[in-house]
């Protein structure tokens, strides 16, 4: 079940050798082609020739989101524009977007990496892939699209939204693979279970979900509601797009395609690399990209790397599913809180819809956390006591998981805004003062 067996199963020694050769070439290229990096190297007193082993990676400068903004639009490109075939960009909600470019070779590499992901979760040319990631400047849609075509499966380029149509085509086309954000997959499931589909005509068997952090409990829900294997895919446009890493069918962390990327985990405060098994911020170096390579890009995603061998036979190390981001992390009364922790508590109860919103406010010098939870049919009763009891049990569980107390506010179904892309889970009123 490999797409590029040679690379997916190569020995660790060979892999490290390949990485080193590619890293050396990358550093050379960045130094000579991208003024930004030349300057950074000079600041650190490093020359490309100083990279003598893979371990020297830790002496190289980081790249941040801010750096990419500062060099808007093409300052980080390492090839002339006539070689750039495609541009993608982040939504740029805070100022200028981040622009990334791809050469013909980059697009091919990307397609093959996505094909690897599809193949490793059992997809084949017989499959119909309904691609409900957004098309356009966002890398999700087109990234999955080309990978599916390279694999040879049938792609339905429906993009996000238009739920009725999604469900109709899913039945009429016999969709077997669904690709979208986990939140949207759950929304679709909700609608499907509300009587909007004929379950005999649903052929779905795999869901490939990414573009936002999600929890194991969410996976369980998706697998149960759709009766599928829910697979986590990872990627970000700054590094490539979807296809940087993906889970195999063992669902035990995502294999990072190490022949193209070097992942690191660093302590976000000291910026020191952390050993395998320790939690920290993910950092990626793209080894093979021509148009827009990045050196030690700080993703702000929080993860852990595991080097133990996977039963699928792939030698590439695995990263833990992203359960939070450094910029998604709320600090409430000095405690780190991630929305995904709340999500898993809610799903663990199984009595509530996993639609929730964290509202943080400051009363005097005290932070208040209110968790709004949509009431579901399953948990609702005609007795006030029943609902109050649920609130009490939720509060107790949140306290034990997060270490802080929160007010639980039960709200009507569908009263928390749905999103077709990434869900909004936080309203931090402290920032609005």
């Amino acid at each position: 079940m490999y797409w590029q067996e040679k690379y997916e199963t190569m020995s660790r020694e060979e892999l490290r050798e390949l990485q080193f050769t590619r890293l050396k070439a990358l550093v050379e290229r960045l130094y000579n082609q991208v003024p930004f990096y030349k300057e950074r190297f000079k600041e650190k007193g490093i020359l490309p020739g100083d990279i003598k082993s893979l371990e020297d990676l830790k002496h190289l400068p980081f790249t941040t989101k801010q750096d990419l903004r500062d060099t808007y639009p093409f300052g980080m490109f390492a090839v002339p524009m006539e070689q750039v075939l495609r541009l993608h960009a982040s939504s740029g909600t805070t100022g200028k977007p981040i622009v990334v470019g791809y050469t013909k070779e980059d697009l091919e590499t990307w397609g093959h990496l996505v094909a690897r992901c599809l193949k490793m979760v059992g997809a084949s040319p017989k499959d119909v892939v309904q691609n409900a990631y957004g098309y356009g400047l966002f890398t999700g849609g087109l990234g999955i699209h080309y990978g599916t075509e390279i694999l040879g499966a049938t792609v339905v380029p429906i993009s996000g939204g238009n739920t009725d149509r999604q469900l109709m085509l899913m039945q009429d086309f016999g969709t077997t693979v669904l690709t979208c954000t986990p939140t949207y997959a759950l929304f679709l499931a909700e609608e499907a279970h509300a009587g909007r589909v004929d379950w005999d005509r649903i052929k779905l068997k795999i869901g490939i979900f990414g573009a936002e952090p999600w929890s194991d409990a969410m996976r369980k829900q998706l697998e149960e509601r759709w009766n599928i294997k829910a697979i986590d895919i990872y990627g970000l446009s700054e590094v490539l797009g979807p296809g940087v890493a993906c889970e195999c069918l063992h669902q035990n962390g995502l294999h990072v395609f190490e022949d193209h990327f070097i992942p690191e985990i660093i302590d976000p405060d000291t910026l020191e690399p952390l050993p395998f098994g320790q939690k920290g911020e993910l950092v990626f170096t793209s080894l093979t990209k021509d148009a827009f390579p990045v050196l030690r890009y700080r993703t702000k995603d929080i993860s852990v790397l595991y080097a133990d061998k996977c039963d699928c036979g792939r030698t590439h190390i695995r990263m833990e599913r992203i359960t939070g981001r450094t910029d998604d992390m709320l600090i409430i009364r000095g405690v780190n809180v991630f929305p995904s922790q709340v999500e898993s508590v809610l799903l663990e109860f199984g009595e509530t819809e996993p639609h929730y919103l964290l509202v943080v406010d400051r009363r005097g010098s005290m932070d208040d956390l209110e968790i709004r939870v949509e009431v579901s049919e399953k948990m609702f009763s005609d007795k006030v006591r029943g609902l109050e009891d649920l609130e009490k049990r939720l509060r107790a569980r949140i306290l034990s998981v997060l270490g802080i107390s929160a007010k639980i506010k039960l709200v009507e179904p569908k009263s928390i805004p749905r999103s077709e892309g990434k869900a909004k889970r936080i309203i931090d009123k402290r920032l609005m003062e």
């Binding site: 009431v375 049919e377 609702f380 039960l410 709200v411 009507e412 569908k414």
Partner: protein
């Protein structure tokens, strides 16, 4: 003898109760009795309507969380002490009353009280064995 009561979850914000009545009205459903239990954050609206089978899907379609419960409609003489008799009978049978509410009917000599208990069948037996009148569901819906 069991009467279907519909319960609806309501957030405590303006317009929600009006919306429920609107949905029922649009679907030609008449309300026979209603009561609201509320806390600071939410309320539970309990309804007896003329056509519960039509009302439940209509409310769900309107986006509300709805549940149905079997309750009893006990007819008591409109005079002091007659309600307490029914309550005492249930208490003696160790049947816990979750809540109750009254509603008016056309016969001014009688009052109608809705009882919500856990052990509905047992309650029916106890009340009927002791000569308490329970109003059949179809009559309640038609009232």
């Amino acid at each position: 003898m069991k009467v279907q009561q519909i319960s609806v979850f309501l957030e405590n914000k303006s317009g929600r109760l009006a919306r429920v009545t609107e949905v029922l009205g649009e679907n030609g459903i008449n309300i026979r009795a209603l009561s609201i239990a509320d806390t600071t954050d939410f309320g539970i609206l309990r309804l007896i309507v003329d056509d519960p089978e039509k009302a439940v899907p209509a409310l769900k379609k309107g986006g509300f969380v709805v549940s149905t419960t079997d309750v009893l409609a006990v007819e008591v003489d409109d005079k002091p002490g007659s309600l307490s008799e029914a309550m005492r009978l249930l208490e003696q049978a160790a049947i816990n009353i979750e809540y109750l509410y009254a509603f008016v009917q056309k016969n001014p000599q009688k009052a109608l009280v809705v009882f919500r208990v856990e052990q509905v069948d047992q309650a029916i037996r106890v009340l009927q064995d002791n000569g308490v009148t329970l109003m059949p569901s179809q009559e309640v819906y038609k009232m």
